[in-house]
């Protein structure tokens, strides 16, 4: 039998629960306790497409070093609260790991492993003795195992108590019984089990001023700060919580104090065609509008997105990606809508995509998307994924500059029109490909124009003349070039040693990538990295590829969609771009990235001859 694991502030703990059993709040509580002890932690929900009854897991990676990506491999401490998945859960424990389980009903020895320390707590029995109400028995069991873990992992009990009080703030009569249940579990463990075990939590000071939040909620708050007033959406996992978060942020920030009337309009549409149609109508009419959706929704919106591109109407689309194609794996993460978003719709179209790496950037890009949409008069996609969108993630605190103002782009006002400024809706007066527009209702007899999906001349008049069509399509390319200068620029990180190997990545891959680079450097493999934050690509992207002999493109899809974009938009030699692809629906891990790259990179130290 291997020696039981001995680790402080560096391990993975996983809870196996039944969907709908009320475990989520206990698990969230557990995660928060770790953070309050100053230790970085990254929780992840692993859940099925189901409301009640199916297995669900909650995994927390504790990492004083600050690695927030999924670690990969097995877990160090398992809390299997779901008999249905016991065998699978038991098998997932690392040799030397621990299992904390409900020992009320005795289990045969065959259910255990020699190399895993089993710690039984009679949770059901204790609950049945303490409570009569069946619902209470279930709910308090969750808090009780948090209490047992507090003893086993040597957690600060004051912090636990304080957080329970915070969690039930406003429902004060629930505080005392929950604290009591926690102590019941803790006291039993202290008395009956060898507390603490080899895995321990020790107060650190590594969290700083960081906050913990979900990307969907952060993106929705970005929409509030971006001045969005119209949200039209259709429910779809994993994006529904974005529209729901927008609703709750608006209730908090956007209700007129004196009249109780709302400075926003949220419509749950009949389908995604309708939701993007409403967004386009509202944006055409001068409001800031958005929709949130996922891959299947983007598929349904294609025709409208082409209209918005061609008629030059702003729109913001939050695409919280999930594994496709078709219904795919609706509750699993991927970065698989890059091509369908970048070239959405028939005919020649190209769209602006933003790739936030964490909730902080979901907020920043969420707000920025509305400025870009107005400035560029075109749809802007904010490409989240389930991993960032639906998991709480530790990130830098959200910041806002009070001197910032909405950039409404090139708008012609009634005063402009009266002053005799010439107005042609599709006239490129500044040479940047971006024309002026007027809002409906601006002026009694100047500035009206007809918006259409058919071809038109510079004055928005219907035409099927080839030269006018070509001129318009060429101008749209010019506008796309302008976009390159306005979108967030890529971020380059150079390795400690000079290298001719590079790696490109984006979005939720970020934390796993940072850790992978650290691991690889430890093995003597050095790479410069470039984190893409937007499409179209800034010229730095071509320059980065030119400056390296081989460039790994790390992404979470099967077909190397970002690699395709790099090849087709920057003309980069495909032989130079090596795909690192992770697409099983789980978040990409540092282990996967570092192992794949180490194998592929062939570990040739810089400027040393291969013997």
């Amino acid at each position: 039998m291997p020696k039981p694991l001995e680790r402080v502030n560096d391990f993975v703990i996983k809870f196996a629960n039944v969907n709908g059993s009320g475990s989520a709040s206990a698990n969230t509580l557990f995660g928060k306790i770790i953070l309050r002890m100053g230790i970085p932690a990254a929780p992840r929900n692993i859940f099925p497409s189901n409301i009640q009854g199916l297995p669900t897991w909650y995994e927390i990676r504790v990492s004083e070093a600050g690695w927030l990506g999924s670690r990969g491999g097995g877990v160090d401490l398992m809390v299997p609260m779901n008999p249905q998945t016991w065998d699978q859960d038991m098998a997932s424990v690392e040799p030397g790991g621990y299992v904390v389980y409900d020992s009320t009903k005795p289990l045969p020895p065959s259910k255990f492993r020699d190399d895993v320390t089993a710690l039984g707590v009679p949770l059901t029995q204790m609950c049945n003795e303490a409570y009569t109400d069946p619902r209470q028995r279930q709910l308090f069991k969750n808090v009780m195992y948090v209490g047992a873990l507090a003893a086993l992992l040597d957690m600060e009990v004051e912090v636990v108590e304080k957080l329970i009080a915070e969690q039930f703030w406003g429902k004060d009569k629930l505080i005392k019984p929950n604290i009591a249940a926690m102590h019941m579990g803790r006291d039993w463990a202290l008395k009956n089990l060898p507390c603490p075990i080899g895995l321990r939590l020790k107060r650190a000071d590594k969290v700083g001023d960081r906050i913990m939040m979900e990307g969907n909620s952060a993106a929705a708050l970005g929409a509030v700060y971006g001045g969005a007033t119209v949200c039209a959406w259709y429910p779809i996992t994993p994006s529904s919580s974005l529209a729901e978060a927008f609703t709750s942020h608006c209730k908090r920030f956007r209700v007129d104090q004196t009249t109780s009337r709302r400075k926003y309009a949220i419509v749950q549409a009949e389908d995604e065609l309708s939701s993007i149609g409403m967004v386009i109508g509202a944006s055409w009419n001068g409001a800031r509008a958005f929709t949130s959706t996922s891959g299947p929704g983007v598929s349904l919106m294609q025709e409208f997105i082409g209209l918005a591109y061609f008629a030059e109407i702003p729109a913001v689309i939050f695409d919280v990606q999930r594994a496709g194609p078709s219904t795919g794996m609706p509750t699993r993460t991927q970065q698989c809508d890059l091509l369908s978003a970048a070239y959405a719709s028939h005919g020649d179209t190209k769209h602006v995509l933003l790739f936030p790496e964490d909730p902080k950037e979901c907020f920043d890009f969420g707000a920025l998307a509305f400025d870009l949409a107005d400035r560029l008069q075109t749809p802007i996609f904010v490409m989240l994924d389930l991993d960032i969108g639906m998991n709480e993630r530790l990130c830098a605190p959200l910041k806002w500059d009070d001197t910032r103002r909405m950039d409404r782009g090139k708008i012609m006002t009634a005063a402009d029109l009266d002053s005799g400024k010439p107005f042609g809706r599709y006239l490129d007066v500044d040479g940047d490909g971006i024309p002026f527009r007027t809002y409906p209702g601006t002026h009694p007899n100047k500035g009206a124009f007809f918006t259409r999906g058919t071809s038109k001349d510079q004055y928005a008049r219907y035409t099927e003349e080839g030269p006018a069509y070509v001129e318009n399509m060429t101008r749209l390319l010019r506008k796309f070039d302008t976009a390159k200068t306005l979108v967030p620029q890529p971020i380059r990180k150079d390795s400690a040693q000079p290298t001719r190997i590079g790696a490109i990545y984006f979005g939720s891959t970020s934390p796993a990538m940072d850790e992978a680079m650290h691991k690889l450097a430890g093995q003597g493999v050095h790479l410069n990295t470039l984190r893409l934050r937007a499409f179209p690509f800034h010229q730095d992207v071509s320059a980065f590829c030119a400056a390296h002999d081989r460039v790994f493109v790390v992404e979470q899809n099967r077909d190397g969609q970002m690699r395709t974009l790099l090849m087709s938009e920057c003309g980069i030699d495909p032989a130079k771009l090596v795909s690192v692809l992770h697409y099983d629906g789980t978040p990409i891990t540092a282990k996967f990235i570092s192992e794949t790259i180490a194998k592929e990179a062939n570990v040739v130290p810089f400027r040393k001859a291969v013997s």
Binding site: G227, W284, G286, A287, P440, G441, D457
Partner: protein
């Protein structure tokens, strides 16, 4: 082919409305529809209604989908913003536009292909949300632009230009609108301007979902014997339930009408509809009775026209959403952005 501007020449003696506009100021470019198309008569009725209402053209936005009917917004109200959107999707674009600015008047123009087939869902949902709009379906029972295929409003048993039978049951847009909660429902005929113009005026003054099903014969593909949407057929089978006069404000009625045959209805905007009953037992305020009456007439092969249902003080989508009085597109940074201090509090709760 490209657009055809109308010559700027104006007769100096053209009458002007209260705003100083002539009827010509409410026109658009030259229609490219077939000579004699019912849709052009509807455009003319819209022009007349807006001219007579002294409506400022820029206070109205006109939206449409795709098809012959959806082309018409280019041919009227050239000083209004227009939006020729996607096939069957005008209702969602109009809904979004309405959410952005509740102060404008929204005129949605669609056809039977656009609204009864590809866009049936969007039609239904815009009506049931109570979007403040005038929704006109220029209904000819046929796909004109693609040359004569049956549409979903073609009556079962009617014949195509080439003699093919339509066996599918028709979709009755008026029946749907009534069932889905439209608060102003009318049916008219492009060949009856006297009836159509006041119906459009009443709808423009209505502060809720106003729907007008306007039968508009297609001279190219659906004006033959055997069609139930031809000029001749509609003239023969048209049974108006009432006649309508529109008045901008309430005024004394001087004409003499028998007891119960006349009613004045004041709408939310203060305008008054004078209704003269033609069908003695028809109650314009009884949704369920109206539905039954229309089904009966339909079974008899008659086309009931006129103002079929009216709720003079409806609640619209903005009322349901409890939005502020000011149009959302007028709100400023100060109205919308909570600021750095609020964000600090937000951060603090997440540590």
């Amino acid at each position: 082919m490209s657009y055809l501007p109308k010559p700027k020449f104006r007769h100096p003696g053209l009458p002007k409305n209260k705003l100083g506009y002539t009827r010509r100021d409410y026109e658009g470019t030259v229609s490219t529809l077939c000579a004699g198309c019912g849709h052009d008569s509807i455009s003319a009725a819209i022009i007349q209604a807006c001219y007579e209402l002294d409506l400022e053209p820029h206070r109205l936005a006109k939206l449409s989908g795709i098809g012959c009917s959806s082309k018409t917004p280019t041919y009227f109200l050239g000083q209004s913003h227009g939006f020729n959107s996607v096939h069957g999707r005008m209702p969602s674009v109009l809904t979004g536009a309405n959410l952005a600015n509740r102060d404008l008047i929204y005129l949605g123009v669609s056809g039977d292909g656009d609204s009864a087939s590809i866009g049936l869902g969007q039609f239904a949902h815009a009506i049931r949300r109570g979007v403040d709009m005038v929704y006109v379906v220029e209904n000819n029972g046929v796909y004109g632009l693609t040359k004569g295929q049956f549409s979903a409003t073609a009556d079962a048993g009617s014949k195509s230009k080439w003699g093919a039978d339509n066996n599918d049951s028709p979709i009755d847009m008026v029946a749907l609108a009534l069932q889905l909660g439209a608060t102003y429902v009318a049916r008219s005929f492009s060949g009856d301007k006297q009836q159509l113009v006041p119906l459009i005026k009443g709808a423009l003054g209505h502060r809720g979902a106003a729907f007008i099903d306007c039968i508009s014969p297609c001279v190219a593909f659906n004006n033959h014997p055997g069609s139930t949407k031809s000029f001749d057929y509609v003239r023969e089978h048209n049974e108006a339930v009432n006649a309508l006069d529109y008045m901008p404000v309430r005024s004394e009625i001087t004409a003499d009408y028998p007891e119960g045959a006349h009613e004045q209805v004041t709408q939310h905007d203060g305008s008054v509809l004078n209704l003269y009953k033609l069908a003695a037992d028809y109650d314009v305020h009884d949704r369920i009775a109206a539905m039954t009456y229309l089904q009966k007439k339909n079974a008899e092969g008659e086309i009931a026209t006129g103002l079929l249902y009216l709720d003079p003080s409806p609640k619209d989508l903005h009322a349901h959403l409890q939005t502020v009085e000011a149009p959302l597109n007028h709100l400023t940074d100060a109205d919308l952005i909570p600021g750095a201090a609020a964000l600090e509090k937000f951060n603090a709760a997440r540590r």
